[in-house]
Symmetry: C2
């Protein structure tokens, strides 16, 4: 009989354990969890704080007892694993009943990650949210709290901002950088920012917190924000101490280094989940992706490998989503910032289609952005923000990326259409059409290239109706409505025309018309809406 | 200047026309539409009947005038195209102002399809729904209608059944075959059948209508059903007469034969949309797929080809969806019936996961079924029925199929997860896990193989709890709960065990446990729920 010890009993660890048992009824499987709970719904914790999930028991998917009964697992909660002796193949386990030396044939490290706590004066006053114990502490402390500050504008911080608002707490989010939701590009994050504000959350970007005191938080610029409660949700750091103390390699971002079999340099020791490095799907470089889906998948993989299957892990796209006051914001792969930082030659496609046919009631707008490799037409990444259907489109794009489809291939996807669910030309198809146009030479400027283009002599033409133009337009634009272009051709003679409309579609038609007539023309990517969103960020 | 004449001004025809204009400002583009309306929302017609779409204008996306202004198109409604002279490259157009002979350089045939009207006595009393004129006739006739009969249990018939119900009409659906929703397998169609009945629609399968009289419909078995209104929605037949009269080839299903450039044997004549044949993505064989998405896509393609691009059309998956009283039913590719008829060696995976994490409020069950090529693990098709998220999963699967991913590859898809939107192991991932298990030798029987298996000596074991077992089980099953198996091993000695639970998951764990202990074991695909759904169909 062989023994596998698994450190960490949530997503990755428990997936490893149950799959191991299904593959080997005779193996001794010991799961060690530092907290008091295993297999809990960590992604549900903010929603329990907000009362969206009413019963605490809903968070507890399994117990040591149920796992013993179903899978014959030896699950030890409240137990800390330490001091791996790789030569002897033993590990020390310290639990309620003392410390024991446990031998292993295979050791699986899935201890997760720890909240990052920046060196702010009084940081010890800040709560964090990572475990069931944390949620108990926060909910107990909430009584009487009127104002809360959340440090960190990432996924979990914002989920908590929503949920505290549901509890009647006035919430301020303090984000150090110049935008919330780092996985999104700024003009896409702007939609989330606006939506949070609309729902009563105060969001401060460029907010450098220097002190947390009783009842307030102070920023570097001197502003003082009242706060009965402060939660730090700045991010997580891989819990890789156990590995590094055992002499196993840890990458520069702190993740345990593993190969494509999720194996460390020690063939008996595997690592996965938030504690381990992943490999990025675009470049194969190491990255950190603290997502439950990946952890679960790698758990199954490790169990397969330990029990003799020849399988390897896939590269990671990092697909993620957050729901905030009914708004969905989802991403996959790289954003524009990252592609630019990597020096890639890219094309960008932004569009603002309806989530379903406009003639069917209840359609809402989805803001979509694609990052495309200019050399290969490969999809590098995408972002979607909207009240409905953003999840579906990002899932479709993630699948297309996994299948190696190009951006232009998206035009040919056959997606399920009835007017409640999409359009005969789905938003993803539309993106494919635009990508195909760009790949075939249609010119397009991005909102942040506009100023430069105008400086280089491009004439900025708003091709919307006079009514739209008069309500608001881009400074410096002249108005020549699309349907008037054929009659007002003389106004374009000798010009280079940068056309724009509300979302880009009329702009595209204008560009084709002008190009057909021998006038150099380009479209503004994403139209007025993308420009407006980007401007709103700068205005914050 | 060249001239393109396009016959048919809805999805495919109008996509051709607008794309042509974007590619060539100087071309003469004439669009001929027999009905009084172009570019109308044909998929919205049933919803206007039901009042879901309140304004008739919502259905009319463009007018001849708006298309003249925006795209300089010569759109002629109420105009019939006839008598193509291929040698002279002319076509006769008969409209309100008489008949003219129109020369063309390219002719594009997109006349759509006509409702199939079976040879039933009194069929002329039946309404059909295909055009704006049809919807006007039906809505005008609805006044005072208390009972309606819909002949045909396909997508459009059922959409109309829902919408007439919304109008307070008592609806009976008469379906000739033994199940509604032919693209679904029977046990999947059963969920739709039950849902319609639950919402007050009477659904009769095996209903052979022999006479439509004033106020009633008579079936072959003698039953008479009261009906103030009868609508025939049996299906459509390609409107290929214009092509066949011109000597162009028409396939055995009635579709105009085209090559991968959507071109007929006459290089100047193209065809697309419901009137033209498609090529099936699984085999490349000809098929008919009357879907708007395909028509739009092929319109863009034909415009590109006419204007000199070297592009070809893709094979067709036939992705489709219908929403009925809040239930979604979606399909892509082949169903089991079709795969069996084609003699394919297949694996089937049925599962019943929640659309999102069970611990987050509002989760509902999705019934999912996959048809997988046993030799290659290729996904041949899938079906999904549920109150939420069926559209998303079918879109993901359609994209995976387009990208050439195998069924097992679905395990590795990175789909956007937060508890409102999915699960850390998404339903599609779960299907991938099951497919991977089957590909690696786990045995599984389908519900329709159960009787045969039991006859061959498989012991049927219900591994659910005694409570579940006592409420309802499969006749002949014994109850040995999963968590008791380790203690009751002696009861399995020498047996071949066919295990089942509610959805298949506990059954799988039981099978792995037994197989690990050297006992031959198999799981019942889809568990009790699939068996129950299949039984409900047989009972109808």
């Amino acid at each position: 009989m062989t023994t596998t010890v698994i450190v960490g009993g949530v997503a990755g660890g428990m997936s490893t354990a149950t799959r191991l048992r299904r593959r080997d009824e005779d193996m001794e499987i010991i799961v060690v969890e530092a907290s008091g709970y295993v297999s809990f719904a960590n992604c549900g914790l903010p929603y329990y704080v907000g009362g969206v999930i009413g019963e605490r028991d809903e968070l507890l998917l399994q117990t040591p007892e149920s796992l013993k009964e179903r899978f014959n697992l030896d699950v030890r909660v409240g137990t800390r694993a330490h001091d791996i002796d790789r030569a002897a193949k033993t590990i020390q386990l310290t639990g309620p009943e003392g410390t024991t030396t446990q031998a292993y044939d295979h050791l699986v490290l899935s201890p997760g990650a720890s909240p990052v706590l920046p060196p702010i004066d009084g940081i010890e006053r800040a709560y964090t949210l990572r475990t069931v114990e944390d949620v108990d502490v926060i909910t107990a402390a909430l009584d009487g709290v009127k104002k809360a500050v959340l440090i960190g504008g990432g996924f979990i911080g914002l989920e908590l901002a929503e949920n505290l608002t549901h509890r009647g707490v006035e919430v301020t989010v303090l984000e150090f950088s110049d935008q919330i939701m780092a996985p999104l590009d700024p003009e896409m994050a702007a939609y989330v920012h606006q939506h949070l504000e609309k729902n009563g959350v105060t969001v401060l970007t460029g907010a450098d917190t220097v002190e947390i005191a009783e009842g307030s938080v102070t920023l570097r610029d001197g502003r003082v924000i009242d706060a009965d409660m402060v939660v730090a949700a700045i991010g997580v750091r891989p819990a890789s101490e156990l590995a590094s103390e055992a002499g196993l390699e840890v990458g520069e971002r702190g993740g345990i280094v593993v190969d494509e079999f999720q194996r460390t340099a020690d063939p008996a020791i595997f690592a996965l989940g938030d504690a381990a490095e992943k490999r990025d799907a675009i470049t194969g470089d190491t990255t950190l992706v603290p997502l439950a889906q990946t952890a679960n998948r790698h758990g199954r993989l490790i169990a397969d490998i330990i029990t003799g299957r020849d399988v390897t892990s896939r590269l990671t796209l990092g697909t993620a989503i957050v729901g905030l006051f009914g708004l969905q914001a989802a991403t996959v792969g790289w954003n524009e910032k990252r592609a630019r930082a990597a020096g890639r030659d890219i094309r960008v496609v932004s569009l603002h289609p309806q989530d379903h046919a406009g003639y069917y009631p209840g359609a809402s707008q989805i803001h979509l952005k694609f990052i495309i490799d200019a050399a290969t037409d490969a999809i590098l990444g995408a972002q979607a923000v909207g009240e409905a259907g953003a999840d579906k489109r990002i899932d479709v794009i993630a699948t297309a990326m996994r299948g190696g489809l190009t951006a232009s291939d998206l035009a040919d996807l056959e997606l399920a259409y009835a007017p409640q669910f999409g359009s005969a030309k789905d938003p993803v198809n539309m993106a494919g059409f635009i990508a195909d146009n760009l790949a075939n030479g249609e010119k397009s400027f991005l909102h942040h290239e506009l100023e430069q283009a105008v400086a280089e002599g491009w004439k900025l033409v708003d091709v919307r109706t006079p009514g739209e133009f008069n309500r608001a337009t881009i400074p410096g634009a002249v108005n020549i409505p699309l349907d008037d272009i054929r009659d007002r051709f003389d106004e374009f003679e000798g010009e280079k025309v940068l056309a724009f409309c509300r979302v880009g579609q009329r702009g595209h038609t204008a560009v084709t018309l002008l190009e057909n007539k021998g006038i150099e023309a380009a479209n503004l990517n994403g139209g007025f809406l993308t420009w407006e969103a980007a401007s709103s960020v700068n205005a914050v």
